[in-house]
């Protein structure tokens, strides 16, 4: 019964040593976290973006469906823990529509081993490949949704300079991020005004409704054009000129960098593991 102890103590030693070292480390980390206060979502947005990108790429490299499924389950658990599961599941519907379409198409057309189901036939290879694609989309979308619900677009835009994005592109992005919401509200107000004047009556046919929507769109574009003149004047009054370049780039925190490197190696290891299996 105690043969493992008398003849092969190595496993026991390894388990004991690793358990107690981890116990001490865990207690230390727990105390440190309590002292520092609970800080959720404090990982640098650049690391979050890089890791998400790397993880999505690695998912597309996977040959086995169960790794994406495990990643999806982990993401769902995280979403539940962060109490964003409703938003997470709502957003998942859009990518899954296309994934289901691909799954069906592959199942009905791809492969050589046919399974006759009476009226229709499906292919084993197509079902396997389609399911792999479906799980990849599920996992990738889960990661993307977790990223976007925990990081605002402004946070990411601020850090785009660190990724060496062209200055003009960042300036256009910042303007767009700021005015999308404004124009969205303005469009709603215009539509409401048009509706109150019977612009969207049910009696109108396709052409009538389309004419109304398009005129709203035209009005919004003209407003955007007029507003851009005012914005330009406001920029000039704040000493803006085309050669002005914002050069301050926030340095990356050492702890975040280490975390990023560890996670990157973990992801690469996962891909290697998937390929070896």
């Amino acid at each position: 019964m105690i043969e493992w102890l008398t003849r092969d103590p190595l496993n026991g030693l390894v388990v004991t040593i690793t358990f107690f070292i981890s116990l001490i480390l865990g207690r230390y980390l727990g105390q440190k976290r309590t002292r520092a206060g609970f800080k959720r979502f404090m990982i640098d947005p650049r690391i979050k973006l890089l890791i998400s990108f790397l993880l999505i790429i690695s998912i597309t490299l996977m040959n086995h469906w169960y790794f994406p499924v495990v990643i999806t389950i982990l993401c769902a658990v995280i979403a539940l823990k962060l109490r964003i599961f409703r938003d997470y599941s709502k957003k998942l519907t859009f990518p899954l529509v296309l994934a289901l379409f691909i799954f069906a198409l592959q199942g009905f057309t791809y492969g050589v081993n046919k399974i006759d189901l009476g009226i229709i036939s499906i292919y084993t290879e197509g079902i396997e490949y389609g399911f792999l694609i479906f799980t990849r989309v599920f996992a990738s979308a889960s990661i993307l949704i977790l990223l976007v619900v925990t990081t605002s677009e402004n946070e990411l835009l601020e850090n785009m300079r660190w990724f060496r994005f062209p200055g003009t592109m960042i300036e256009i992005s910042s303007f767009m991020a700021r005015y999308i919401k404004t124009f969205s509200n303005e469009g709603r107000r215009l539509k409401l005004a048009q509706e109150s004047r019977c612009g969207f009556s049910r009696d109108l046919g396709f052409t009538g409704r389309m004419y109304n929507t398009a005129s709203l769109c035209g009005a919004l574009i003209i407003r955007a054009f007029a507003r851009s003149e005012r914005v330009y004047k406001a920029m000039l009054s704040r000493a803006w000129h085309p050669q002005l370049r914002y050069s301050h780039i926030l340095p990356l925190n050492r702890n975040d960098a280490v975390l990023g490197i560890i996670l990157s190696f973990g992801i690469i290891g996962l891909v290697v593991f998937d390929r070896v299996l």
Binding site: I102, A141, S152, M176, T213, A214, G218, R223, A224
Partner: protein
């Protein structure tokens, strides 16, 4: 939820993360990057001569993004969907600037889970490059001898069709590389129930919108060459015409039962008769060799000719 962007609805054909294979992700990023770089150069030139261009392009970009997520009624199906929007943007701010703006719009759309991060390159190519350039080309071609509303409408129609055909091609290339043409047709057919009626809706939408704008603020439509000189215009026109002729010829050949293998077999039999057909070199060549080789020749030839163009023209 932290994202401040509006929620979208309806079916979209943006490719999500996890669908494309990594080599295709990189390929579409590289192709889109070329157009975005050209677009940024044109935008920077315009900003240097007219600084008010920066807020103008950004605000019009923002409004086109907002419009592209509006629901428009779709004929036949009775449902509603959102327009592509890039042909309209190309008419207003030019196709190169549209490529830049649509790549940014796609980044923002990823925040509402439309499309994805790794597929921004592929989606920019289908929507912001093929949709915008195709639509703009049709608009410029028709506007001199048809009413403005019709040329704009056709731009919307062609832009929408090209966007979904390109998306179908991207899916076929990545998912079924062994039988691209067959799966391209299948994916295209799969999209038809939603995308064809939407293309008609896009026709009406773009036509009415441009008609309204031209009646209210003519200078927005008649804005000069969008920063593109005659050389660029002629080169792009030639590129589209020659590519269309080749594509049409290939399609006719395919309809007549051709396998699109060309004369490869004959050339290979004479040039390398003893080659191992299952060797890694042959397999790599079959997958990447030819397109890469031709791309290398095209890039080198184009760069050298373009570089010395002015020197040759002015002795």
């Amino acid at each position: 939820m932290k994202s401040s962007l509006l929620d979208l609805g309806g079916l979209n054909i943006h490719i999500s993360d996890g669908i494309l294979e990594p080599q295709w992700i990189l390929f579409w990023y590289a192709i889109s990057a070329i157009f975005i770089t050209l677009g940024l150069r044109i935008i920077n030139k315009r900003i240097a001569s007219d600084p008010s261009y920066l807020p103008r392009i950004s605000l019009i970009g923002a409004v086109v993004f907002v419009i592209s997520v509006w629901h428009i009624p779709v004929p036949v199906t009775g449902s509603s969907s959102h327009p592509v929007g890039t042909p309209l943007a190309a008419i207003l701010i030019g196709p190169f600037a549209t490529a830049v703006v649509s790549s940014i719009a796609l980044f923002f759309q990823a925040f509402v889970a439309h499309g994805g991060l790794t597929t921004i390159g592929a989606n920019t190519f289908s929507m912001g490059i093929m949709g915008a350039f195709g639509g703009y080309f049709v608009y410029r071609l028709l506007k001199n001898f048809t009413p403005l509303w019709f040329s704009a409408g056709m731009a919307g129609f062609v832009g929408s069709i090209l966007t979904y055909l390109t998306t179908a091609l991207q899916l076929a290339l990545s998912l079924n590389p062994g039988n691209v043409v067959y799966y391209w047709k299948l994916y295209s057919l799969g999209f038809i129930p939603t995308q064809l009626p939407l293309a008609f809706a896009e026709f009406a939408f773009t036509a009415y919108a441009i008609k309204y704008i031209s009646g209210t603020k003519q200078e927005l439509i008649s804005a000069a060459s969008h920063g593109k000189d005659n050389f660029t215009g002629t080169a792009l026109l030639l590129m589209i015409v020659i590519a269309s002729v080749i594509a049409l010829g290939a399609y006719i050949g395919y309809l007549k039962g051709g396998n699109m293998a060309g004369t490869d077999g004959v050339v290979e039999a004479h040039a390398a008769p003893g080659v191992n057909p299952n060797g890694i070199g042959t397999r790599l060549m079959a997958r990447f060799g030819e397109p890469l080789g031709f791309a290398f020749v095209g890039i080198t030839g184009g760069l050298v000719t373009g570089y010395y163009w002015n020197a040759w023209r002015k002795p």
